[in-house]
Symmetry: C2
Subunit: 495 residues, 2 copies
Amino acid sequence: MTTAYDQLRDTFTRLSRLSHLSAITGWDMQTQMPSGGSQARAEALSELSVLMHQTLTAPQIADWIEQAKNESLDTDQQANLHEIARRYQQAVILPDQFVSAKSLAGMKCEHAWRTQRPDNDWSGFVKNFAPVVELSREEAQIRAEATKVSRYDALLDLYEPGMTSARLDAIFADVKSWLPELLKNIIEKQSAEQTLSAQGPFAIEKQRALGLDIMQVLGFDFNHGRLDVSAHPFCGGVPEDVRITTRYTENDFLSALLGIVHETGHARYEQNLPKQWAGQPIGEARSTAIHESQSLLFEMQLARSEPFLTFLRPYVQKAFGDQPAFDPANFKRINQRVEAGYIRIDADEVSYPAHVILRYEIERALIEGDIDVQHIPALWDEKMRAYLGLSTKDNFRDGCMQDIHWTDGAFGYFPTYTLGAMYAAQLFASAKVALPDLNSQILRGDLSPLSDWLRQNIWQQGSRFDTDTLIKNASGETLNPSFFRRHLEQRYLDR
Amino acid sequence: MTTAYDQLRDTFTRLSRLSHLSAITGWDMQTQMPSGGSQARAEALSELSVLMHQTLTAPQIADWIEQAKNESLDTDQQANLHEIARRYQQAVILPDQFVSAKSLAGMKCEHAWRTQRPDNDWSGFVKNFAPVVELSREEAQIRAEATKVSRYDALLDLYEPGMTSARLDAIFADVKSWLPELLKNIIEKQSAEQTLSAQGPFAIEKQRALGLDIMQVLGFDFNHGRLDVSAHPFCGGVPEDVRITTRYTENDFLSALLGIVHETGHARYEQNLPKQWAGQPIGEARSTAIHESQSLLFEMQLARSEPFLTFLRPYVQKAFGDQPAFDPANFKRINQRVEAGYIRIDADEVSYPAHVILRYEIERALIEGDIDVQHIPALWDEKMRAYLGLSTKDNFRDGCMQDIHWTDGAFGYFPTYTLGAMYAAQLFASAKVALPDLNSQILRGDLSPLSDWLRQNIWQQGSRFDTDTLIKNASGETLNPSFFRRHLEQRYLDR
């Protein structure tokens, strides 16, 4: 007999097969497609997304969900049903016309932004951006009414289920209480040190070969994935075939290399999700912040640590020859450099939270209706001066126009970066407790004990538990930002 | 008001968007995908093909077709409706279960064939191949009953609408009457000439750069397409983004280069199909043979001609340095070499029809039930000896197991190769009449007059006319195989 749960399971298997096509053609669009193919590709992807939305919101889905709640399900099936219901609710609540209107407004804004940002054209940008904000507020309103939370929290929940702005306020208030002082002390300490830059050019082919070697060390499964080039690095594809990308410049190899390490963290999570749940929501990564915790654990906790840099140095010398910048102490300094800067994606792990908190405070006020679009530049300048001591007055391109997220109406996403950094610090600290020899394992490039720990505690868990339970099971407690603070103090001030 | 025709048009636009996703992920599978991704990819593509089949055979489609016949349509819309009805009939006639059973049997047979062929394992192959033949006969029977033609003709019509075995019999009987003698004379003539082989190695990167240069000369639009590598060269993708492939070996650059020219012929047809009919059946290529006529026109008629080889020589010398093999007369000889061989895909244009006729005769008898699977090897050997003077006794891997087509049940496809060669000769002869300066244009690499002629007479016509009308409009008469014979006699015997 086919149960209602079986019907739901089969529907989500179908949806996952369709999203396979969207993931691969999406990757192709960023890495292979000639520009003349873009309109046909956009039409094909939009057709598929309409079809998937129809499948997910078909009338019988709601009935099956209700029936399945009364069927005899094991714990995992119940967890899967919970995730299925969440996705259905999130999708069915918005009218079809609204979804396509918002998607159109976002595409228009993003497309224009690509030239308006280099032109520093804020007033031109506002014309397309104001409607995106309006539609995002409307979406927040609809979702908030259904879930009885605040408007911003309703959007936040899309990326980070269970997270609230009340909790974020407490976390970020704490960070704001110690970060400016910490940043000042680190910059002061580092300014007393002499640091040599690595001298290029570094041939792209050698950078690529080095990146592939390090992916191998990090356990990337090349039978189920590849490395390519795109303008904006990402981790795409499907768990069975993960596509990561980087971008190379000849005068700096560390940016591409650490980018590869970052995406490899995402990739290993995807490649090690529970196979027995492939295609089901319970088999997917837990949340945006947990995904980011894996990339940041690889990039920040692991790769910029002294033991890993010691292991990495001979690879670098073999690839590019030796030079004074690769001396141990200097090599560590160039990989642990801290600077207050304008651009979030170029920021080190110490100043990064300032960029996130600033965005969080502005986007929340914007969605809650406390401020309007025209207030953003002044607020941005004010907060940049307060948090990082830099002014962005009249400098929109390096200020409030620098990121793509808002152009598409992705409000509620930014906090996940810093949550990810905090989860990464907490998980790495737990791994160290569980693996007393971790540092010496890293020193000799043996990452399988760390991988095994992550596989068991995070990767194989998929979405079986909510985030708090997942983290508590792995580390003994729910999110505790003090691990992150301690990590920064230890690494950068030797405390 | 939305007419029934509008509904059909919109349905086919949707289908074409979905087939865009299948084309690109299919290309990816052959060129990019790591092998561990194959099962998930197969499932995703099969899901999409079920969905497309459901869309194409939905109950309302038949009603719309009937209603549209009574609507006021212009000539092109009528032609489009005709093609729509043809596709609907072809798709709806087979029960869903039959389609998936045949597809499964084909996949199983093809998969095993990949190792059975190198192992020369005919008896192992037969176990999977017999069911494929059985299902193909069943399909032929179902289609034959519906269209009142013979079983083989019903399959042939899938690739070459309007072609019949009666017509093929006449064409091939003629070829068989002169080909053996012609082949003998050419081989005799060439054996009296001393031909130097080109001496490798030829660096892959240089081969690729040369290929790209020649694609540019041939008018390939790189804003709407790319060149990559795959084990079996093909032309894939979509008209807005055509993906051609080749394969390189270091000891021979001509095979990859002329392969690129061949696929560029396919690509230019796709890239120049009528944009105003994009997504509609009338906007697609006319048939398999006409598609092949474009690739063979580029490869055989154009690229192996004396004027083009004269134009090409300096490119080759620039890429690989000079050597005695590149002297004009010798360069022509290595590009016009004729040899009786076992392998169809390695065959020159003179012996190629023998390979096709042999397959046609065997597959027709097989589908009509005149012979059974176990009779194939002896028949193959007998015909190879008769047509090419070679025995394939006990040599299955270079005999009846060499091609992929039958493993998938693609019976009725082989004749289109030789029909394509004949159309190519006929069209090129017409182009020469229309363009009296064609040879001198080719000599200086100016292919735009030839392109313009093809664009106007073939590419822009899509499927507006049936094949006979298309060819008659372009060349003044329907298929006339004597152009092909004359071409071979002129090129190879200077007659």
